[in-house]
């Protein structure tokens, strides 16, 4: 039907006009007027401040290198005495979940790209509850790992990133990317002159982190989960007297070490 009949239009308009008249001059119902709230009242004409919202969950990842806060391109000394600096340090986080005795709250389809020079990440809202912990995977779950980055909105962490976090030749995400310079001399007292790349990916490199902390997520509140990433931990067990760069497939032993170091690198604040 291309047109309403004129009569029908007039009828509809009169109804519409009547509705506006009634609502604008009526008694004025009080209630929550925010359509994003849990208790939105579409009939309310006066907001009474009663709006309720689910708790907003924030993850804070504080980047450290050993005892110090991380600054890119600054030399640090590992516990072995060897000097190293980082020019880039980031990893994906997927499968995030607030745990409790039951099913908890899962942040489905939420992916973070956690970067060494950024602390605060918004996870979105969760159901209110008394949670006992926070668990997540470092890396990208298998289904998303083999998906097409160009199908994601630009705002998504899974869309093409700069620098890239995706291996285009094997169609998978780089879970962990740490780059910088290191001293690879035998004695460990030489120049910081070896440019290294630790690029870790593949489904088998996904590593779970489970942190226990009481998280009281109540209505209208923001809940902050404070964590520390000690990037120096990622070098544990790696022989740095040889070129130790890995793009995973070309150096599996080092890639495996980096992945296995996730659990010691990420702790509660």
């Amino acid at each position: 039907m291309k047109y309403f009949s004129s009569k029908l239009s007039i009828f509809a308009l009169i109804l519409l006009a009547g509705f506006f008249t009634l609502t604008s001059q009526g008694c004025g119902k009080k209630g929550c007027m925010d359509p994003d709230s849990l208790n939105y009242d579409p009939d309310a004409t006066k907001d009474d401040g009663s709006c309720e919202f689910n708790p907003e969950i924030m993850a804070h990842f504080h980047s450290h290198f050993g005892a110090d806060a991380l600054t890119y391109n600054q030399n640090y000394t590992l516990s072995s005495g060897r000097k190293v600096n980082l020019s880039l340090a980031q990893f994906y986080v997927s499968g995030m979940k607030l745990t409790d005795g039951g099913s908890g709250y899962s942040f489905d389809d939420t992916y973070l790209l956690v970067k060494g020079d950024q602390t605060v990440y918004e996870l979105g809202s969760a159901d209110p509850g008394q949670y006992t912990g926070f668990t997540f995977d470092v890396g990208v779950d298998s289904a998303a790992n083999h998906s097409d980055p160009s199908t994601y909105e630009t705002s998504s962490a899974l869309s093409p990133q700069s620098p890239s976090m995706h291996w285009s030749w094997s169609s998978g995400y780089i879970f962990i990317k740490i780059e910088g310079m290191a001293d690879t001399s035998a004695a460990g007292n030489g120049a910081v002159d070896y440019p290294f790349e630790l690029h870790v990916g593949m489904d088998a490199m996904l590593r779970n982190v489970s942190l226990s902390q009481a998280l009281d997520a109540t209505l209208n509140n923001e809940v902050e989960i404070g964590m520390v990433i000690d990037w120096s931990q990622f070098f544990n067990g790696i022989d740095m007297t040889t070129p130790f760069t890995t793009h995973t497939m070309d150096n599996m032993p080092v890639a495996m070490k980096v992945a296995d170091n996730v659990s010691s690198a990420i702790t509660l604040e």
Binding site: I10, L13, A17, P149, S150, S159, P160, S170, M252
Partner: protein, 347 residues
């Protein structure tokens, strides 16, 4: 009931908006954005598989073609897709390996682009599952085009012509990764070859399409003794899958193992179509064989006996005439229409 002037105006506005929205509905159906690309498949070909999110439209194909020939897709604007995929060479470049930006050299021979829609894997090691995803690979590779995809999106958005073309081809506001990958894949899907003399002989009933020598070569090619069609049979003269063809006893390039890490796949590479093979020299994953005589002699030798070597490569003996017949037949796989089709050429 007389309508007040205000109501009359409101009615007019309402009526106009209704007319507009109904026009828009009709327009959607015949909108050029979704006009299908007129593609006629050669006789003997199965339907073309096309992903749901990338219908083959005239606008996507035209945009993909422009992108394919545009060096703007490389970091220093010197290398386009067509730099390594030349139409007159069956979309290869005649080099052992190809030179990309900053003089960088690839480590594998540039593959021919032909009948790509029917492939199940892309790249010589099959590391990429779709044609759309494949677009990301040469763009990002430091020895090919060497540009971050996000930077490429930003660059094309600043271009005076691309944003409009993307808006016309996609229901999106600007150039994005989705549009670039879909447009290029759409253009690559129309690179269909199916009219070489062998096609004409087999599928079009043109018995004169092959001369006597080529016909003898065809019989050798199809014979059990040579076994070529175990891997290079079917409408596209290839099977989907990976084989170690015994080129080396030890492989520097691990082949499919590079992406699967499975040692049993070492030295296995994607089986290529033999379409237009006479113009796609040099041959093999590393471009190490310079002409089809060397290729025939390699398979006749039975391979170097790598543990993963295909069971079908057992060697054979040919007379001088037979060797020439087989060579001539391979030349009858050249589709001149494909090599010269202006629909594929730079404008």
């Amino acid at each position: 009931m007389p309508a007040a002037p205000f109501i009359r105006q409101a009615m007019l506005a309402l009526g106009i908006s209704l007319i507009l929205s109904s026009c828009r509905q009709d327009d959607l159906l015949r909108m050029p954005m979704y006009e299908p690309y007129p593609l006629e498949l050669p006789p003997g070909f199965p339907d073309m598989p096309v992903p749901d999110d990338n219908p083959l439209t005239t606008r996507r194909v035209a945009l993909g073609k422009k992108l394919f020939y545009d060096p703007l897709l490389s970091i220093d604007s010197t290398v386009s897709c067509a730099t390594c995929h030349l139409q007159n060479l069956g979309f290869t470049d005649g080099n052992r390996v190809s030179e990309g930006v900053h003089g960088g050299l690839g480590f594998r021979n540039a593959p021919a682009l032909v009948n790509l829609a029917w492939n199940e894997d892309y790249m010589r090691d099959g590391g990429v599952p779709t044609l759309e995803l494949q677009v990301l690979a040469p763009v990002a590779a430091e020895v090919e085009m060497g540009i971050n995809f996000k930077e490429l999106v930003d660059r094309l958005n600043l271009d005076p012509t691309y944003p409009q073309l993307f808006r016309e081809a996609f229901d999106r506001d600007e150039v994005d990764a989705f549009g670039i990958t879909r447009a290029l894949a759409a253009f690559e899907r129309i690179l269909v070859s199916g009219n070489n003399p062998y096609d004409q002989y087999r599928f079009q009933g043109k018995t004169e399409a092959l001369n006597a020598s080529e016909q003898r070569g065809m019989l050798l090619f199809e014979s059990n003794e040579l076994g070529c069609t175990h891997c290079h049979g079917g409408f596209d003269l290839r099977k989907n899958g990976f084989e170690n063809n015994g080129l080396y006893a030890q492989y520097v390039d691990s082949g499919r193992t590079r992406v699967t890490l499975n040692p049993d796949e070492r030295g296995k590479f994607k089986v290529p179509s033999l379409r237009n093979v006479a113009v796609t020299a040099p041959y093999m994953h590393d471009g190490s064989l310079t002409d089809l005589w060397q290729v025939i002699d390699h398979y006749a030798s039975g391979g170097k006996g790598h543990p993963n070597q295909s069971e079908f490569i057992t060697g054979f003996t040919l007379t001088t005439t037979e060797r020439t017949d087989l060579y001539n037949f391979l030349h009858a796989l050249t589709d001149q229409d494909f090599l010269q089709n202006p629909a594929f050429s730079e404008e």
